[in-house]
Amino acid sequence: MQIASDAPATFRSSARRPGTLELLSTAFREVMSRRRLIRYLVGAEIKKKGTDTVLGNVWWILDPLMSLMVYVFVMTIVFARKQEDFAVFLLAAMIPFKWFTQTLSDSVSAVVSQGQLIKQIQFPKIVLPIVVNGAGLVNLAFGFGVLFAVVLLWPGFADHLSYMILFVPLIAVIQFVLMLGLSMFVAALTVFYRDIGIIIGHVLRLLFYVAPILWTFESATGRGDLLRQELGEVGFSLLRYNPVAVLLEAYRTCIYGVTKGESWAPASPADLGWESLAIVLLISVVLLVLGTIVFKRLEPAFAKVL
């Protein structure tokens, strides 16, 4: 009785270093042949998440709700922010940003935390950052669930709903590609330089404030003109057209609408920065390809270093 397996039945390992194209095709083949492993690991990841808490899976919903309440309180009461329907304004950017930070900080430990596994059994390590991104999708699904529940149930918020939300999945796909590429770099390099985890933490915190989450570029009360004066053209462009800012503004246009001072107006497809989104997609694809190459290059050393 021979048991079938997704793993190759014969292999040859030698000191030869494969070329770049070969690395990419191997990576692609590994991911395609081990989809079941990825699905299983994502499931295990989600299963583990709630097990140590009393409320368990309720946290998937409670967590975004509570952070929403914290920020709405801080911004509307403490900072006296007068944005109309601030909860929608905030959630539209905060939910995708939480997805971003969660996935990136999980990527730091994606390979490092699996040291024992890597030293025990041969499997394509490239599935590990992919699993982190897969588990992140569940996070996003619950976040958007909360977002749309709030928009539908809170009196007056439903006005923000329009056919524009049909563009949200498209923006999410671009963000997914971007994160997957970054995950490859982060997961592989952390094996050799644990310092990366600490740096990522600070970069993400900085990003939370410099990305348009609590504020926006467009409105008259927003920071746009002020920032342009403060930072100059180059600094402003970096802030305005970095991939995260472009994506977050796009989400907000689709979910909240166009910000007009403290008020808002329904958006149309023309309000989305299509050109910037296309550039972000291009950057993301390039990052994914480079990240995969770097990951595959470093992969043989993982078991020796961990």
């Binding site: 014969t10 030293k119 041969q122 499997f123 050393a301």
Partner: protein, 313 residues
Amino acid sequence: MAQGTAVQPVSYEDTDPELSGRPQVPDDDAAPALQVQDLGVQYNLRFTRKTKLRTSFANMLHREKGDRRFWALRGASFTVRRGESVGVIGPNGAGKSTLLLVLAGIITPSEGVVEVDGHISTLLSLAAGFDQDLSGLDNIALAGALMGIPHETMVRITPEIIEFADIGPFIDAPLKTYSSGMRARLGFAIATAVDPDILLLDEVLQTGDEVFREKSRQRIISILTAAKAVVLVTHDMTWVTEFCTRAILIEDGRVTMDGAPEDVVRTHREHSAARRAARREAIERMRRGEIPIDTAATRRLEGPRKGKSGSQT
């Protein structure tokens, strides 16, 4: 292995005569399962050491201070045929575990070639298991997913694994609550239930009790009679003479002997005794002040240091 688990000889009189006794040595023309040629594995300690603030600045200033690379294994060549059971023996840190890691494809060679023909199943460490937070049952499924075995097959063989592992209600408890014997049984049950062509075992058998020992012996013999190969690393010489059709001695990263288990074990014992005598002699001379005190040598005599970073062995 540091404590040298004492194993009493067992009598196998009431076991099935078909399966008792030493496995048969296969013919010379049996197909090779593993082919190793000029294999070398080099480790670079640059990324495995613990860095202190002072040393990290020092490293930044002059990068190439001392060569931090060493060969854990070099110039190894041998073939394992189907139906063969090869015992790998040698002193601590000689490169035995490194050899198994390369054979399993977990680390890639720094030089030379390993050719593997057949599905490999490994049981390389008992300290770990797969996922400490998941239950034994989930770990069986995880192992199956990692080895790429279809879900239906895993469902079919899971009862068999549970029965062999014999860990009762613990099968639903997280792996972190398991004793080392339970881990050994579960790990061995999983590694062998998937019907591998090549089974690699690293010091995992001596944890079990008599019953488990006999059960695993039967299983290894039935794997061998199905013309599959087994490579096991052990410090338990009885295992080598009982289980193996051949033995390989590794010393200082080199294959120094390859032959019949009894001969290799005898040579290993002689070499170990000689090394011990030499060290004792050296310590004695240090004590008398004839040669300068070498702390490394005394440490070796007092017992092997189990590296936390796990970078060598």
